[in-house]
Symmetry: C2
């Protein structure tokens, strides 16, 4: 096990009616709140009114920033920073999914940054030093942003999609009520499940051999996705399925699986280049790319990890390692397909001549991958196979 | 999944040389420190000198309370509270295992309690309201006290052993360097491993049926104990084995496995009565009692949980549920025995006429167990079987 500093400080209020904690939590940070939300679904479900009522009952003054899109844009973040400065905001509450939360995080640190908030993504994590406190009310399971210090933002002018990671960006608290995810569409549910699954795989496929505990925890979370993803798709109002996916999503990326080992993240790197150019849903991009990534990096050297995965997660038996490993990859592809995910990049509007540009965007910060290093030729190969 | 409020705020510095964080962490809370330790083993290993040097380099003034024993006593806690008041202590650092940490926690909250600190154990958790900040440097894997808000203290006058649980008792930080556990004796290593294993089982054997994720995580941790307990026993300086056990120990009881479901804790309840009367090592008591507890509560009603345990943890196959379940219990007993644990209460000096008294002590706060309720007759039966 490698050395690590553990800090998972986000308080979670989990379960039906956990919104009742919102007022008390927010009041700890002040009375002037920025309320960040997405494209209006919370007005349909009534959650918007609930939140406004809580502000009013607790004497909180709020300003609103709505309209956050999937693959959230730096332009809206800039608006948010201005609002925070104009109104001397003390705390930000994000009501929505990962895009809303990531926007809120970037506003929270952009508030303390003298220049343009996009600078922080270009300069990297070291430039992120301070942030306004944020809290979240989660309506979408998948990104894990509700319990970590990551934010991914797209720049529509440069068609870049970049990430920052810092503990100061961790939400102080998150309200996780599984009933708020009942309204996730079929496609969102499937893509969210793939996103969780992929977050786990990125850490499971690690070059760190000594990570027994982390591997067993990861397998437990993967099995939970396999068990409950299809249930949530079939029965969107199944509380237990939604609860299991919601909590798995948070744990999958809060640090627990990654502490003590190196993680890979090559597939995410390629997907960010993809969705920056084609505005593909993140989980959909991951569903297409992941099995091709597995096929690309499977070799004699990496075989044992794939066998471990196939045996422990998919319960595949047999003596021939290569056959077992390949069955594990095939099971992964079948799982994503059964959730309704496409298998090819061409199915989501990607054009073949864009692949070379995508490679360049993917390596903007250098080669990808730690389990297996991917340079430009390997990434192009991956994209061609997935096309 | 049941509703829960998650709060695992303890910062962990894990790995070789993580002691280097001690000074900076302590300085956040002030300059006057109470240094709590055990029976001198840290002087032999050199850790004592390292800690003193760090105090000196960081301008920290310290007062010492050493001599904490296993099954730590309230009398020493009282001394600690007096020291804190006399010297206006701002922060407590516990260097040792669970007994040292539990003593430090009780001193930390006793400092704010007007009466005798034992009152808090009699009055229960609601009486614990505030505590001095504490940090720990762990030298013993097993109790999990380094990352939770629990403290168990013995009263030598009343031969009671009682617990308090409150988030304010969670250490602010813990330094987990696996090399500090190289000096654990064979018996300590074995008993510590059983203690971890038992903490997981107490949460795994739950009446909450909907806990898929929690069950899979628990199975991962149980497998880690099975994998690395024997390695650490065989090769006390095996870094990876010590690291895996150390981190498993912390995760096993920091809340992660218990959030969202009801836990059992009957075996711990009986063991506390046992070790209050006979000063048996906690893990040794658990090793004896656990298989008998399993045999006692196995029934048609509880069968499916035992089958889940046997199949997923011990990989037992076969179609007859009762046979599978019993094999799982037998595997558990064999595991403890292979670690060198005794099988019978008589082997650790317990006298048969004490069993009835032990029952009374065990039910002082009411019946035990949530997976299966144990009243006085069932507890007596358990003790007689284990005698």
């Amino acid at each position: 096990m490698l050395n690590f500093n553990y800090n998972v400080s986000t308080r979670i209020f989990f379960g039906r009616n956990s919104i009742e904690h919102l007022g008390d939590e927010l009041k700890q940070y002040g009375t002037r709140v920025l309320f960040v939300s997405g494209q209006g679904s919370i007005k349909k479900t009534g959650l918007y009114d609930t939140v406004i009522d809580i502000f009013s009952q607790n004497g909180l003054v709020y300003h609103e920033l709505s309209g956050v899109q999937p693959n959230p844009r730096i332009s809206l973040v800039r608006q948010g920073v201005r609002l925070c400065r104009d109104h001397d905001i003390q705390c930000i509450v994000a009501v929505g999914g990962g895009s809303v939360i990531d926007s809120a995080k970037t506003i929270a640190t952009g508030y303390y940054h003298d220049g343009d908030p996009w600078d922080l993504f270009v300069l990297g994590d070291a430039s992120v030093k301070k942030a306004l406190p944020i809290g979240t009310v989660l309506t979408f399971s998948g990104t894990g942003s509700e319990m970590n210090g990551n934010a991914v933002i797209s720049n529509e002018e440069t068609t870049e999609k970049l990430a920052i990671h810092k503990d100061v960006l961790r939400p102080r608290f998150s309200i996780l009520d599984p009933t708020y995810t009942f309204s996730m569409s079929e496609n969102q549910t499937a893509a969210g499940t793939v996103d969780i699954f992929s977050h786990i795989l990125e850490q499971y496929f690690s070059p760190t051999r000594d990570a027994f505990l982390q591997n067993r925890l990861a397998e437990g979370l993967l099995k939970t996705c396999i068990q409950y993803g299809p249930v949530a798709l079939e029965a969107p109002r199944d509380y237990e399925a939604r609860a299991q996916l919601m909590w798995t999503s948070s744990i999958a990326l809060n640090g627990l699986l990654g502490y003590g080992r190196v993680s890979d993240w090559a597939t995410h790197g390629v997907e960010h280049a993809l969705s920056a150019m084609f505005d593909v849903t993140h989980g959909v991009g991951l569903a297409i790319l992941t099995p091709y990534w597995m096929e690309l990096v499977l070799s004699d050297e990496t075989m044992s990890k794939f066998v471990e995965y196939a045996r422990n997660v998919w319960m595949i038996t047999g003596n021939n390692d290569r056959t077992v490993a390949k069955e594990g990859i095939e099971k992964t592809r079948e799982f994503f397909t059964a959730l309704g995910m496409p298998q090819k990049l061409r199915d989501v509007g990607v054009t073949q001549n864009a692949l070379v540009v995508m490679v360049e965007k993917a390596v903007v910060h250098g080669d990808l991958g730690k389990f297996k290093k991917l340079g430009k030729p390997e990434i192009l190969s991956l994209l061609n196979n997935a096309f």
